[in-house]
């Protein structure tokens, strides 16, 4: 199950309770949304510190605007739009920092091979780190579409609804993103297929 779907299920009963002003429900809702919003913001801003600031603004917006959410779209769709808008506003007038600062970068040691061999794990971590840098170096639209399609598993129609573009445009961004990411990955790691 994708992270977004898991969040949708987790907040299904919290949203109406928070809208009714039930004590604790709003805090629980914000707490449930926070990490997902941060990860969306990280993809959208490509900067860990900016993502934290955007997350903060989104939580404030949700706090103040939840009463206006009418349930015509999924809560996560509404939340994604709020995050997208906040990230867009945040990005205006600010010089983009495409490289994560050393302090903000939290290296995740990922083991994509499932191997217990330390050399395999180092290689997997190196591949993942390169893939991360390549993703964050893509243009924003491509990052968003790639994340929603190939990491979140969303369809072109769903992506189009969230990002306010046509499904064809979403598909074009996705193909550009994949091509840019994979061709660079293969260029920098020519032995990629030999050690997996």
């Amino acid at each position: 199950m994708s992270e977004t779907r898991a969040l949708e299920e987790a907040v299904a009963d919290l949203v109406p309770r928070a809208q009714r002003g039930e004590a604790g429900a709003l805090d629980a809702l914000l707490r449930a949304c926070r990490d997902t919003v941060y990860r969306w913001a990280l993809v959208q801003t490509a900067d860990a510190e900016d993502a934290e600031d955007v997350t903060q603004e989104v939580l404030i917006r949700v706090h103040g605007s939840l009463g206006r959410y009418e349930g015509r779209s999924r809560f996560t769709t509404w939340l994604y739009r709020v995050t997208h808008n906040e990230a867009s506003n945040f990005g205006r007038g600010i010089r983009r920092r495409l490289n994560l600062s050393a302090a903000a970068t939290r290296e995740a040691t990922v083991n994509t091979t499932g191997s217990t061999d330390p050399l395999d794990r180092i290689h997997a971590s190196k591949v993942a780190a390169l893939a991360r840098d390549l993703l964050l170096g893509l243009p924003r639209r491509q990052r968003e579409v790639f994340h929603l399609a190939d990491i979140e598993g969303r369809t072109a129609d769903e992506i189009a609804e969230r990002l306010g573009m046509s499904p064809v445009t979403a598909r074009v961004h996705l193909l550009h993103a994949r091509r840019a990411l994979r061709s660079e990955l293969l260029a920098r790691l020519p032995d990629l297929g030999e050690e997996v």
Binding site: A51, G64, R106, A131
Partner: protein
């Protein structure tokens, strides 16, 4: 499909098509070509690693601290809005009182230090001015009420 075409197709293929056995032409090629299959597996592993990296990302601030800041900021904004609304009501009430007075004041208004007081608000206007500053119980919140005066030509 030969290997060159397969490697070209891999750059834009859906992840589902990068596995041998997928019904696509690329999938059929991968079934019979170990080298391309390994390359496709490498791409899939890298993108899976990307998903795992992203899933591990969290904001640095502690949850409680972040939520407390968000809630406090929202509460501050609500207070300002409420103060603004209360100020508007007060302004409307004051205007009604002025209109209902049997002897309306002539402009420029007579000196007055205290026009009215309601609830937690104290309202003062400097003599002869049309600017009212309302101080609230919160020293950080001040409501400024400006009355445009239409002067006879």
């Amino acid at each position: 499909m030969d290997c060159a075409a397969a490697r070209h197709a891999m750059l834009e293929a859906d992840p589902a098509d990068l596995s041998p056995g997928a019904g696509s032409e690329l999938g059929r090629h991968l079934e019979g070509c170990p080298a391309c299959r390994a390359l496709a597996a490498g791409i899939l592993a890298a993108e899976r690693g990307l998903g795992e990296w992203l899933a591990a990302q969290q904001p640095r601030a502690e949850a409680a601290e972040a939520l407390a800041r968000a809630a406090a900021a929202a509460r501050r904004r609500s207070r300002v809005r409420r103060a603004g609304a209360a100020g508007s009501l007060l302004a409307a009430a004051a205007a009604v009182v002025v209109l209902l007075l049997p002897h309306r004041p002539s402009f420029p208004p007579r000196p007055a230090d205290a026009l009215t007081e309601a609830g937690q608000f104290s309202v003062t206007a400097a003599p002869g001015t049309n600017l009212v500053v309302m101080h609230t119980a919160d020293p950080k919140i001040i409501v400024v009420w400006y009355l445009p005066i239409r002067r006879a030509s």
